[in-house]
Every structure is written in C-alpha cells, then in structure tokens.
C-alpha cells in the first residue's frame, strides 16, 4: 500500500476537467486555467497511454535516488487527455503503450509506468 495518495487518487492518478469549456489538466487547482470557471470536476484517470518522452537518469540528485540509479523517467500522453511524468520500467521505449501503477520508489509513492500487454 502507498501512504502517499497520488495525489488523493490513491492508486490512480487524478485529472481535472472544466464543466463549462471541457478543458482537461493535470496539476490540481480550484479553477479552470482556460476559462476561470471555479468548480472543476476531479476524475480518476485510466492511467493508460503512450510514451512521448523518455530518459534514463544516471546522475541522481540525492542519496535516495542514487541507490536506484539508473532509473527511467518518462512523459506519457494518457488516453484521458493529459500528459504525466512518471518513473517507468528501464526497458520502456518511446511510443510504448503503458499503464500507470503507483509504487514506492526511493522511499516515496510515485507514478510508475509498466508496459501494457493488453494493447498492441
């Protein structure tokens, strides 16, 4: 189990959507950054998507991450219509279809993408 809700979606990612202009976004706030409407809806994301950027980090910023280096960080375009940064399996490649889990990495709860074998 992960104590740290990511972020409050528990084992799922959250995204928000504006009921007025239908804009979707990832970084949580209490208004729509496009039209200013003040009661956005918060949804659980499917967490399914495609890798649009990928890097294998060798030079970690701190001891916690040095212990697991090299680690892969990716950006994923989710089917939910948002882009998310997360950790991923080291052998994940650009354009791979992936699925988000929430895992404990370097002592904290983080989004972690694994290859989605159900799609291809």
């Amino acid at each position: 189990m992960n104590s740290n809700d990511w972020t409050q979606g528990g084992d799922h990612l959250h995204y928000q959507q504006c009921g007025t202009c239908a804009n979707r976004w990832y970084f949580k706030r209490d208004f729509c950054p496009t039209c200013g409407q003040t009661s956005p809806n918060t949804h659980l994301a499917s967490g399914l998507g495609k890798v649009c950027a990928s890097t294998l980090v060798h030079r970690a910023p701190s001891d916690e991450f040095r212990a697991i280096a090299p680690y892969r960080i990716v950006m994923v375009d989710l089917a939910d219509g948002i882009r998310v940064m997360g950790h991923a399996e080291v052998d994940v490649l650009m354009d791979d279809q992936v699925r988000c889990e929430v895992r404990t990495i370097a002592g904290r709860s983080l989004p972690y993408f694994v290859k989605d074998t159900h799609v291809s």
Binding site: Y26, A53, T55, R108
Partner: protein, 377 residues
C-alpha cells in the same frame, strides 16, 4: 535609443574564496572601466539572483557593498534568460527616463559556494514541486526528455548533438578565460559519462564560478558603444509536463518580434549568441529560430557554418558548454563576447563581420525566452 557602452567578464571556473558579491564587484569594475565611467556615473542597478546568496534585495545589498546609491535598483529572476532579460529591462528603463546609466550584473560562486548535489537540487526546482521534482528529476533529466522527443520528431542524433559540443570547445580553446579549453572530438562526447540519456556529461554545461556586467546608457559614451535596437520575450508554461507543444517553444516567434522591433530580418544577422545549457538546447533554439533547418544544426556545425569565419559565427567565446555556466552571468558572457566582436576587440577570435547581432536565451526548461538585437553605432 539605448546603448550598451561597456562590458566586463571574469574568467569562468573555480574562484575559490570569492563570494557572489565579490564576483559581481569584479565584473562591475571591469564593465565600468570598459565604458570609461566611474561609480558616481551610475544611477541605476539591476542584477540577477544568485543561488548561493538567496536574498530578498540582492541589488540593494550589492549597491551597499559596491558603494553606490542609485535612483533605481532591483533584482530580476527569469532563470537562464535573466541576463538578456536584464538588458531588455535596462533598454526600457533608459527609454522611460527612469535612469540614464544602468549597471547590469550577474555573478555567482555556483561551483565552490555549495556542494554539487546542492547545485543540482536547487536547479531542479524549476520543475513542479509536487508532480515532477519528487520523481528524482533533474535539469538534465528534463532536457533528456525533450531530447528524446526532438530526436524522434526531427531525426537529430546523439552524434549531431556532439558536433555542437565540439564546436563550443573549439571556440573556447581561443579564450583564456574559458573553463574548458582543451579540444574534444565527437567520439569523446559520445564516450563521456552518461548523465540523463541521451545526454552525456559533455552534452551538459558546467557548473562554474564567475561574473559578468554591462553598462546600458542613454548616450553612446566611451569608446565602444553599441545600439540596442531590438528586444522581445516569450513565455510558455513553466513545467514540461504542462507544455502545449514539445516541438515548438516559441523561440522563433520571439526572435522574429525582436528583429521586427529593430527593423531587421534574420538574413541580415552577422553574429549569433544562442543559449547552450545543453547540446539539445542549442539544437532546438538554432532550429526553431531558423538558423539551421530542422535536424541539421549538428551537420551545419560540422560544415563550419557557425565557425569564426562563417557568415553566422556562433558563441565565439565557447558558450555555456565550454566557457562555463555560473548562473545569471552564464548567458551574459555571450553578450560580453558579442560586445567585443562588434567593437573589433576579440583578438584571435575576431569574426570578419559582426555589425548586427542576434542573441537569444531561455530560462527553466525552454519556459521563458528573451531575444536581443544589437547593432554597431
């Protein structure tokens, strides 16, 4: 009209025992001397932040230390774009009449004033504190992500990136103040220590100590004035997770607006000074601005199209990649070199023609952009 009338640049690298204020003072003394001015001639001071001296009022702190009491002073924070942003501000302050002779300063002991981990962690804070930084992401990781996307979209290769690192080192080999002067090859870059794929250590700018200052004036005083004829900014999302488009960061439209405000075209530019925090940064900026076709910046560097004797020489001091990067002053070194080139004082680095220069810098992860156009008087 506003004029850049003096510049001062320290060597970049290790300045053991020098503080932010020491480096700012050294650069300011050099700039005043270059402009033929004294402390009492200065009525405005604007400076950039320092990560080793976080302060609410760095400009005022500096003024007390340096011994001046200007009519106008404050600090500006735009990440790597700060240096050129300060010059744009100085141009506007002079035009508005708020001040007539403005000292513009950047300086920081980024290398010796903190541990390497601390520097990496502080800089990573341009990322999102909840959704990005906790992942163990670093600035090289953000740019590694961008590089992977760019390589896929435009076919650039790691070897193409390496060609730009080789070029910057070649240019730095002619500058005694550069942090790294020993020539390197593309193979050296490719074989260097991996940092955040596809970026290796030689694709990354250094962490250095150093300072740079310029004087912006309402009149072309002293022996080496330049006209500041154009300036523009463009701002995207702060974070790459929130970027609308990973293949267009607005550098092209920003430089176009700067050139337009100067009444110039890109084809008229004779010297270019482009921000090069990583080889991918330089690639993306050159290609977005239109100084090389998409996917061709590395090839063009190999073919000599950015070398000293070409039509558009680039960063002839060696850039952030080899002259060095000490924060706000990092991109100001590009400016100091443009000043020397445009006033015919660059010695063995001197380009043939550099009457019209285009400068561009970005802050964050291509989040903020500033372009400047400088012209000979």
């Amino acid at each position: 009209m506003s004029y850049l009338v003096g510049s001062g640049l320290t060597s970049y690298g290790k300045h053991e025992g020098s503080s932010t204020l020491d480096l700012m003072s050294q650069a300011s003394n050099l700039a005043l001397k270059d402009a033929g001015l004294s402390r009492s001639d200065i009525d405005g001071v604007i400076c950039g932040y320092s990560t080793t001296l976080p302060h609410l009022m760095l400009a005022t702190l500096f003024c007390e230390h340096f011994g001046i009491s200007p009519q106008y002073a404050h600090t500006v924070q735009m990440g790597g774009a700060t240096g050129l942003g300060l010059v744009m501000l100085a141009k506007q302050l002079v035009a508005s009449g708020a001040a007539r002779r403005i000292l513009v300063i950047g300086g920081e002991n980024r290398m010796t004033g903190q541990s390497r981990d601390s520097a990496i962690q502080v800089l990573a804070q341009v990322g999102h504190p909840v959704y990005e930084v906790p992942l163990g992401a670093t600035i090289p990781a953000y740019y590694g992500l961008l590089a992977s996307s760019y390589m896929k979209a435009f076919g650039s290769t790691e070897q193409d990136f390496a060609a730009l690192a080789v070029l910057m080192r070649q240019h730095a080999s002619r500058h005694p103040g550069a942090q790294f002067q020993k020539p390197i090859t593309e193979d050296d870059v490719l074989a260097s220590r991996p940092i955040a794929s596809p970026l290796k250590i030689l694709d990354c700018c250094s962490v250095a100590d150093g300072g740079c200052a310029v004087v912006v004036s309402a009149e072309p005083v002293g022996g080496n004035p330049l006209k500041i004829t154009g300036a523009a900014q463009h701002h995207n999302a702060q974070h790459i997770s929130a970027m609308k488009n990973l293949n267009d960061f607005g550098a092209g439209q920003c430089t176009q607006r700067a050139l337009q405000s100067a009444g110039r075209k890109l084809s008229e530019v004779e010297y270019i000074a482009i921000y090069d925090s990583f080889t991918i940064t330089l690639t993306m900026l050159l290609e977005e601005i239109g100084l090389a076709p998409r996917g061709q910046a590395g090839n063009w560097a190999r073919e000599g199209r950015f070398s000293k004797d070409s039509a558009t020489p680039l960063n002839l001091h060696g850039g952030l990649l080899s002259y060095g990067h000490c924060g706000v002053a990092g991109a100001m070194a590009h400016l100091a070199e443009a000043h020397l080139q445009m006033t015919g004082r660059a010695g063995e680095r001197q380009a043939r023609r550099s009457g019209i220069s285009l400068l561009h810098a970005d802050g964050g992860v291509l989040s903020s952009h500033v372009s400047l156009v400088l012209e000979s008087v």
